[in-house]
């Protein structure tokens, strides 16, 4: 019985993948056709075959291409990492203390609507290196999202959890460690999921403006040097990089809250 169930599951999975594969093939086909059509009226969108050729001819074994990957990932790591490092404690402080909220929130609410890219000039003027300014802008992108999510998460911890923990004899410090922190993890996870997406958004734009290396820079250079194949290689690379980062974040989230994997209340909330 169980074996049969497993087989059916495997078949179902394969079928799901199979549909996905068909969709990708169809997408590439449409792209090929449109690319070919566009060239007939002077458009410059390269076809998948041209892009693949360019990629294997001059990118796969070019260390400079892979340095772009490394540079972008490193910036994301720093920007996203600092956003968590400062954003989570600030969100918790805002959520737990009315005083902190009253002092910090007005400033926060004025700064929050400013799009991360509006920080580019100030960032370049302030930080000594371009590297630091790009990291700062990516940091800004993820920071506000994580703070707001953690803040909101703290405020929405059911009051009965605190009441019950107090009834059972827990001290405030224990309640903080064993109730507040675990209860806020799902909100941290939401903040991370949103944050990593914004980080890549902002990073690519910032690299186009100020970088010397990076996948955003690569894409921009492809445009400036009138080499559309490079633009597409850059775009697809960014897509893959963003996807990989999201998977890594998913993995971290799953490790942070093993209990949520089985809980219908939390599963599929994202």
């Amino acid at each position: 019985m169980a074996a049969k169930g497993r087989t059916q599951n495997a078949v179902a999975r394969l079928f799901a993948h199979w549909r996905g594969a068909v969709a990708i093939v169809a997408f590439v086909l449409v792209w090929q056709i449109l690319g070919t059509m566009s060239s007939t009226f002077g458009g410059k969108i390269p076809t998948p075959t041209q892009v693949t050729q360019t990629f294997f001819a001059s990118f796969v074994d070019d260390p400079r291409y892979w340095r772009n990957w490394a540079a972008s990932f490193e910036r994301v790591l720093w920007g996203f990492g600092f956003a968590q490092l400062f954003g989570i404690p600030l969100g918790i402080a805002l959520g737990l203390s009315r005083t902190t909220e009253e002092i910090v929130f007005p400033v926060f609410e004025v700064l929050r609507p400013i799009p991360p890219l509006a920080w580019v000039p100030v960032s370049i003027l302030f930080w000594p290196t371009h590297e630091a300014s790009i990291i700062f802008i990516t940091f800004i992108g993820a920071f506000f999202v994580i703070v707001i999510n953690v803040f909101d998460g703290i405020r929405h911890i059911p009051e009965r959890y605190f009441w019950l923990a107090t009834s059972l004899g827990a001290t405030p410090w224990r309640i903080f460690l064993r109730i507040v922190l675990p209860a806020v993890i799902p909100s941290v996870a939401v903040g991370m999921t949103l944050g990593i997406a914004i980080t890549w958004d902002v990073l690519v734009a910032a690299e186009m403006i100020a970088g010397d290396l990076g996948l955003g820079r690569l894409t921009w250079e492809g445009y400036v040097s009138n080499t559309p194949e490079i633009v597409i290689v850059g775009m697809i690379s960014i897509g893959i990089a963003g996807y990989l980062s999201a998977r890594i974040v998913d993995y971290i989230e799953a490790r942070l809250m093993p209990w949520a994997q089985h809980d219908p209340k939390f599963r599929g909330r994202r």
């Binding site: 107090t166 009834s167 059972l168 109730i179």
Partner: protein
């Protein structure tokens, strides 16, 4: 399931006196006024009344989550709460909430041992052993000991919550409509379970409900609260024999008690309705 009707293992205590308790929110909202109620040690008291009449307020005062603005509450003769002085929440009075309050990030076992752990009176190994033993005694729950609350049914979650409360050997259990959201079959099972538990661990129970049949089936005494400002309007002693069983619902005595309660509650509900009060609970 069989009821355990053996002699109580621990000394029965947990007598509560609520004396002329009042609760005013802000300046104008009078939730409770001159509310007095005696609950004997080991008594199962069910409190019924229209929505928003202050049942939960009274429970919160007993638990120590809120304070009365007038009157006093004593537990076994010792002052518990008085005007503007909240009782300190403690492991002698544990609440089971309608929405459930198991910590989703802890396994069933860790939820049950949490109280013993934070009170630091029991060695971790002993706490685990006691928890497993108690889970086993309360309907074979030890088999879900290592699961997370999200993995078990809501009925089982409530049972685990009862165990989490009982392991602290509380003087009283405060149950705030714990079975409200359940379907009829699960509810019936939970009633039988609670009756068994109460026979096995004869604690004072303060049970809030809207369901009159539930109140009669479970309780020794049903207290009816007036519409806001909440006061105890009447007490009805349920003289049905124990062990109780769901079949008793059809008995003559049960029906008579129910009619008596319906009349009382209906009158209060009508008053509330005529005043056009919004549902608060």
């Amino acid at each position: 399931m069989r009821s355990v009707a053996s002699a109580p293992a621990t000394a029965v205590n947990g007598a509560v006196t609520i004396d002329a308790v009042g609760k005013v929110y802000g300046e104008t909202v009078v939730a409770l006024e001159d509310c007095s109620l005696e609950i004997a040690a080991g008594e199962f008291l069910a409190l019924v009344g229209p929505s928003g009449c202050g049942k939960s307020t009274l429970l919160n005062i007993l638990a120590g989550f809120d304070h009365p603005t007038r009157g006093t509450v004593t537990l076994d003769g010792a002052p518990l709460a008085s005007a503007d002085r909240a009782a300190h929440p403690g492991p002698d009075r544990i609440v089971v909430f309608q929405e459930g309050a198991l910590f989703p990030w802890k396994t069933v076992l860790d939820n049950v041992t949490y109280g013993l752990k934070v009170q630091r009176q029991t060695a971790p190994e002993e706490a685990r052993a006691r928890a497993l033993d108690m889970l086993a005694r309360c309907g074979g729950l030890d088999r879900v000991a290592h699961q997370f609350p999200g993995q078990i049914s809501s009925g089982m979650q409530r049972r685990v919550e009862l165990v989490r409360a009982l392991i602290n050997d509380p003087k009283m259990l405060l149950l705030d409509e714990p079975f409200r959201a359940m379907d009829t079959v699960s509810k019936g099972r939970m009633h039988q379970h609670l009756l068994d538990i109460h026979a096995q661990f004869p604690k004072t129970v303060f049970f809030i409900t809207h369901d009159l049949e539930e109140a009669i089936l479970l309780a020794d005494t049903v207290a009816v609260m007036t519409t806001r400002p909440g006061r105890i309007r009447s007490r009805v002693a349920v003289d049905l024999p124990r062990p109780r069983h769901a079949r008793m619902i059809a008995s003559e005595r049960f029906v008579a008690l129910k009619e008596q309660l319906i009349a009382a509650v209906h009158e209060e509900a009508l008053k509330a309705f005529e005043r056009g009060e919004r549902e608060l609970a």
